[in-house]
Amino acid sequence: MAILIDENTRVVVQGLTGREGQFHALRNRDYGTNIVAGTRPGKGGENIESIPIFNTVEEAVKEEGANVAMTFVPPAFAKEAVLEAAFAGCELIVCITEGIPAKDEAEMYDIIKKETNSKLLGPNCPGLISPGKSNVGIMPHEITKQGNVGVVSRSGTLTYQAVHELTQLEIGQSTCIGIGGDPVPGMSFIDVLEEYEKDDETSSIVMIGEIGGSAEEEAADFIKNNISKPVVSYIAGVTAPPGKKMGHAGAIVSGNKGTALAKMDALKDAGVNVVSNPTKIGNAIKKVI
């Protein structure tokens, strides 16, 4: 099963003609992902390594049956691109683009939620991979292994770290998801946790959080009441100086809420096994499977 994407996923790449878009689209295709189309206004009819280019997502959906969009469009045009994919009927839009203004993010989230049935992952996220089936994003698939642990994280490279720890112990993953650390992410921890709870292939969950915001506290509440599968968690930023921005727009400590300790306490209170160091994730999962 895995969640959100699998071997039947058909991906349209927005920004396929750009350097990043092309690199990752081809890499993901080599992995076995169905990359069925790309879009670039004005370049319809062309192709890149035999991937057909369309002017609009709507055409890609109609002609190639695309159902998931992977977006590499630059920040200034990202909002329009994501909305285009949503209105064209893509079930899931994975927005990799970094540096989108918070107002654009808030607005696009609001419109997608009110006017479409699409799910948005990101922006500013590494995307997701269902190992052995499909990779929609920029995660290095070499470090993943097919299996039964669902991984969800706010951070990019820290996600890789966590996945790597699992794979090193021969523990595979059903799906690995980076939700991104921006102020207004599309899918939240809760949205992803809900999917993992329903998924037969997922038997346990790893959740990686970091300082700033209150998404982890809200997730803890949700886990307490709705998640029956074992959860292992790690929160980065215990020693981060308060009030400083640390790269992710999201990583701002404000008051008591948002500190690593507050998040760890909330998660422990929800019955989650919180580890103090990302290298301990693998062994913690090993104990529950």
Binding site: P101, E107, Y109, D110, K114, P140, L158, Y160, V184, T239
Partner: protein
């Protein structure tokens, strides 16, 4: 990016938001020549730290002589480690009532949030704690914007003086426009005051969303006016995300999450980081050698830990950067390197082919942190 009060007020000017008439003084010699303001005036230290009033950074001058005296007194003052280098001289208004207003993003609701209170001019956090009813909160749909009717209802609910409801509604709408159209993370006015000259925004706390820089030409100008801590200047020039800390283990990593986590693991092994340094995604070899150069300027560094998990970033390029920066040099401190992910084998090969007595490879993050702490003590 947090703005100084005077910068926020220059944005008020752009959005026609009424605020006191003022002059800016960047050199105390200018005080002598200052004309065009009617007394009394308020002399306000421009520092980015709370509590400047209590620290003596805000004073009222009743005439020109007092202005010069107080201006010289406040200029150059140290307020909680911030040196006063700019003064804002404002005409003092007769304040009849003081309110609080702010617009910000409520991240958990994924909507904008307006907060309004009749209890302005004081610590609003305390008000929120003691009398939460005195702080009216209104969520605003990002796609629809601030609804006039909702705003008017909030003005009534917050118990603001109804005699001024039209003026209040107008100035609050303009402040919202600044927040929304101006791509601000925060617009906070405390106090928003009713004065003998009408409704006015007496203070400004504005933070800009720098991701929106491409939409606003003035963001760069405002950014250039904000001094960067000396030790972070060089890093900024090189495009590195660097924050100075107090410890002794220099940290270089890719991705904010992984770097934060590296700081934590170093602490777990009894060490402490001298900095936070994120080379970002897709770093080139120059980025890595620049990062090492940045650490060389810090005398507190005793050992260096490079922790890379390649994704977009390629480990072979990271290794190239390390070799470029260290080849043939006698290093000041040991460097412990951990490379994983994209092209890590190639990266490790490059390091192996360019050995340096002070460079050590470690196979995992935990061990690397431990080694960095031990070799730095």
């Amino acid at each position: 990016m947090d703005l100084f009060e005077y910068q926020g007020k220059s944005l008020y000017q752009d959005y026609d938001i009424s605020h006191p008439k003022s002059s800016l003084v960047k050199d105390p010699k200018e005080l002598q020549e200052l004309k065009g303001l009617s007394y009394p005036v308020v002399v306000k230290a421009q520092v980015q730290v709370g509590g400047r009033g209590k620290a003596g950074g805000i004073k009222v001058a009743n005439n020109h002589d007092e202005l010069i005296e107080l201006g010289n007194q406040i200029y150059g003052m140290d307020i909680k480690g911030h040196k006063v280098e700019v003064l804002l001289i404002e005409e003092a208004s007769e304040i009849l009532e003081e309110y609080y207003l702010s617009f910000t993003l409520d991240r958990s609701a994924k909507k904008y949030l307006m907060m309004l209170s009749s209890k302005g001019g004081m610590d609003i956090e305390q008000v929120a704690k003691d009398n939460p009813k005195d702080l009216v909160k209104l969520h605003i749909s990002p796609s629809k914007g601030l609804d006039k009717k909702d705003l008017d209802e909030s003005i009534i609910e917050a118990n603001l003086n109804q005699k001024y409801k039209n003026e209040l509604s107008e100035i609050i709408s303009k402040l919202y426009e600044l927040f929304e159209e101006g791509d601000c993370d925060l617009v906070e006015v405390n106090p928003l005051a009713i004065t003998n000259e009408g409704v006015m925004a007496l203070d400004s706390k504005v933070a800009l969303d720098m991701n929106a820089k491409f939409k606003h030409e003035n963001f760069q100008i405002l950014e250039d006016e904000i001094p960067i801590p000396e030790e972070e200047k060089f890093a900024k020039e090189k495009g590195l995300n660097f924050i100075k800390l107090d410890g002794f283990v220099g940290i270089i990593g890719n991705g904010a999450g992984l770097v934060m986590s590296t700081l934590d693991v170093v602490a777990e092994h009894g060490g402490s980081a001298s900095n936070f340094l994120d080379i970002g995604g897709g770093a080139k070899s120059e980025t890595v050698s620049a990062a090492l150069e940045v650490l060389e300027t810090d005398p507190n560094v005793k050992s260096v830990l490079i922790n890379i998990f390649g994704g977009i970033t390629r480990c072979d390029l990271v290794a190239d950067g390390i070799v470029e920066a260290t080849s043939g040099k006698k290093l000041k401190w040991p460097i412990i390197i951990r490379l994983d992910g994209t092209n890590s084998q190639e990266g490790l090969e490059i390091l192996k082919n360019n050995p340096n007595d002070n460079i050590f490879i470690s196979e995992n993050m935990d061990e690397a942190a431990k080694l960095a702490v031990e070799s730095g003590v």
